[in-house]
Point group: C2
Chain length 337, copies 2
C-alpha cells in the first residue's frame, strides 16, 4: 500500500506527526514533573525544523502568560510589527502522559470503565485534570519557542472508543486548525467508551489514526532511548536496530544491522521489557503506520539525532552511518518463496 | 415561545446553566489572578445545589494533582470505596475570561481576525493559553469541591463563527458528557472564523446557544454586583431591578419595583456604564434566553442570594422579599392596545 497523498480538506500535505513520548518530556521518577530541559530543547528543534527561514531569525514567543512572581505579562508585541505570518510546514504533535495521569488512572481503574462507581468517575476527572495540565505546559513550551501551537483534547474533540478500540474521532477541527496555520497538540486522554463507560486512549493509538487519515510524509517517535534494541537497552549486549522493513501483511524483519543471509528474523528479548508496552508493542504500532507507506523514525529526544530526523534529513537520503535511531519502512510485497 | 422540554439525546433535562462571570472569579485589577475565595465559595455552593443527598455527606475531592511544594499527589481513594456514584442534577458551567485572555486578545486584535499577520496568530495562541489556563483552574476548583467537572474548549469542540456570528457548534460531546454524569465547563475562547480567519467567542454567546439547545430549567449569571440596576450600581441612587418581563418580540419592561401604572418603561442610565458590555447588553442577552421560556437570574456570586438561586428556591415560588437579584422572565404575548 502506497501513501496516496494528503487527506481531503488539506491544501498542503502534513510533513510530520511527532510523538513526544511521556518518558522523554517528563521525569519518570517524580510525579507530575516536567523535564523542562528536554522539553525546551525539543520545542526549539521542532521550531527550527518547521521554519523555512534562516535560523538567525528572531524568535517571537507566543506564550504571553504571567510568569510566577511577576505582575506584568510577558509579551514583546513590537517584534511582531507588520510582520506577515510566515508559512511553516504542517506538523502535528501528540504527547504521552509520562508521570502525569498514570497515578490517577491506575488508582481508580479508569481504563476498565464503570462510571457508575464514584471512584472511577472521580478518577476520570482527576486523570483529565492531570493530562490537560501537561498539555497546557507543552503547548506553552512550544509557543514560547515560536510555534503556533493549540491544545486539542481528544475527549472534548469527540474521540470515542468501544471496548477500548477507537470507534470514532472527529478530525475536522484538527484539519481546520492545520489549514489555519496552527500546530495541533493532542494527547493521551481519558475518553468515553460506548460499552465500558470510559477508558484510556493512548497517544500511540491517536498517532496511528492521525497518520492513516492525514498521510504525513513521516512520523517521529521521540523517546528516552536511541531507538529499538534487540533486548532491553540497559543490557550491555543490546544492539540498536537501525532499520526494520515491514511487509504488506504487517510482518517485519530487521534489515540493518544485517544478520546474514539466513533471513532468520532477529530474536528480540522482550520478557520483562515488554510489560509496560515495550519494544515489540512499539515496533508493532510503528509497523502499522509504515504499512501505509509512511516512514517511522524512533529516536532519542533532544539529541542531534532527533534534530536530523525532524529536519527531514533522514527522509531524503539513505540513513547516515553516524545517525542513531531506528527507521521502520514499508518494504512492499514480500518476495515469493 | 414555551420551553418545549429537554433536547434530543438527553434522558434527563438540564437543571441549570451557570455563567461564572469573569469579574466574579478573577481579580479585576490584577492580570491573570483568580479570586480564590470567591471561586471556592461558588464551587461549594454549586456542589450543594447539585447533590440531592444531605449536606453532611463527605465531600470526595476529584482533583488529585500535586500541590505546589509537595512530592505526593493528594488523593483519598479510600473515601470512594465501593461507593456508587450518586446521580447529581445536570448542570453546565460556562465561564468568562476576567483578567485572563483579555490582555493577549486586545494587544493583538484577535477579535478583528487576520491570521496572515504574525501578531494576530501569536495573539490567538497566547489568548488560548491564558483562557485554557483559567479553565483548568476552574475545573480543578470544581473537582476539589466534589463536582465531576470536565473542561471543554469551544475552539477544539468545533465552535466556529462567520463574521463574528456563531456559525456552527458541535454539541454532541457536551450532551454525551452530561449523559455520562459529568459537568461540562466551557469558556469564552479564541475561535476560527470562516470570513475573518479568527475572532473571540464570548461566554455569553455560548450560554445563549447552549440554552436554546439544551433547554435548561433556568440560567444563572453569577456576577460581582447584586443584579441589574437602573444606573451604574456605584451611584448612590441606583435601584436594583428585581424583575424584568420579556415579551415574545423580545422587548422588556421592569415589573418590580413597580414604577406605577403609567407603563412608562424605566429609563436606564447607560452611557459610560455600557461601554464594556454593560447592563443594557446584559439585559438584552438575558432577554433572548427568557424569550425561550427559560428564567434567567442575575445574582452576586458567593452570597446567600446566589446559593438560593442555584438551589432552585427562587424558581419554585414567588421571589422572596429578602432575596437580592434580578429575575428575567418570559411574560407571554404583549397585551393588545
Amino acid at each position: 500500500m502506497e501513501n496516496s497523498g494528503a487527506c481531503q480538506g488539506l491544501t498542503r500535505p502534513i510533513r510530520c506527526i511527532v510523538k513526544l513520548g511521556g518518558a522523554a518530556i517528563t521525569c519518570k521518577n517524580e510525579l507530575e514533573k516536567i523535564n523542562e530541559e528536554n522539553l525546551g530543547t525539543v520545542s526549539s528543534q521542532l521550531r527550527q525544523a518547521m521554519s523555512s527561514g534562516p535560523d538567525s531569525q528572531k524568535i517571537l514567543g507566543m506564550d504571553w502568560s504571567k510568569r510566577p512572581g511577576e505582575s506584568e505579562l510577558c509579551c514583546d508585541v513590537g517584534g511582531f510589527d507588520d510582520q506577515i505570518s510566515c508559512d511553516s510546514s504542517n506538523f502535528v504533535v501528540v504527547h504521552g502522559a509520562g508521570s502525569f495521569g498514570h497515578f490517577q488512572a491506575s488508582k481508580s481503574g479508569v481504563h476498565k470503565g464503570g462510571l457508575d462507581k464514584s471512584l472511577v468517575k472521580a478518577g476520570f476527572v482527576a486523570t483529565r485534570i492531570s493530562v490537560t495540565n501537561l498539555n497546557l505546559e507543552i503547548v506553552r513550551a512550544l509557543a514560547a519557542a515560536g510555534i503556533p501551537s493549540v491544545g486539542m483534547s481528544p475527549f472534548s474533540c469527540g474521540w470515542l472508543t468501544s471496548e477500548r478500540n477507537l470507534e470514532s474521532a472527529d478530525l475536522s477541527m484538527v484539519v481546520k486548525a492545520i489549514e489555519s496555520g496552527f500546530v495541533p497538540v493532542l494527547h493521551g486522554d481519558a475518553v468515553l467508551d460506548s460499552q465500558l463507560g470510559c477508558t484510556i486512549l493512548s497517544g500511540d493509538v491517536i498517532i496511528k489514526h492521525l497518520a492513516a487519515y492525514l498521510k504525513p510524509e513521516y512520523v517521529i517517535f521521540l523517546t528516552d532511548v536511541f531507538g529499538v534494541y534487540d533486548r532491553p537497552p540497559s543490557e550491555p549486549e543490546a544492539v540498536l536496530l537501525r532499520e526494520i522493513a515491514v511487509t504488506e501483511e504487517g510482518s517485519w524483519s530487521v534489515v540493518k544491522p544485517n544478520y546474514g543471509s539466513t533471513n532468520k528474523p532477529v530474536e528480540i528479548t522482550v520478557a520483562a521489557h515488554d510489560t509496560t508496552g515495550g519494544m515489540v508493542t512499539k515496533i508493532a504500532e510503528a509497523a502499522m503506520i509504515a504499512k501505509l507507506g509512511i516512514d517511522v523514525y524512533i529516536v532519542k529526544a533532544a539529541t542531534s539525532h532527533s534534530q536530523r530526523a525532524l529536519s527531514g534529513e533522514i527522509r531524503r537520503g539513505s540513513i547516515p552511518d553516524d545517525w542513531l535511531g531506528t527507521v521502520i519502512k514499508f518494504a512492499g510485497k514480500p518476495a515469493q518463496h
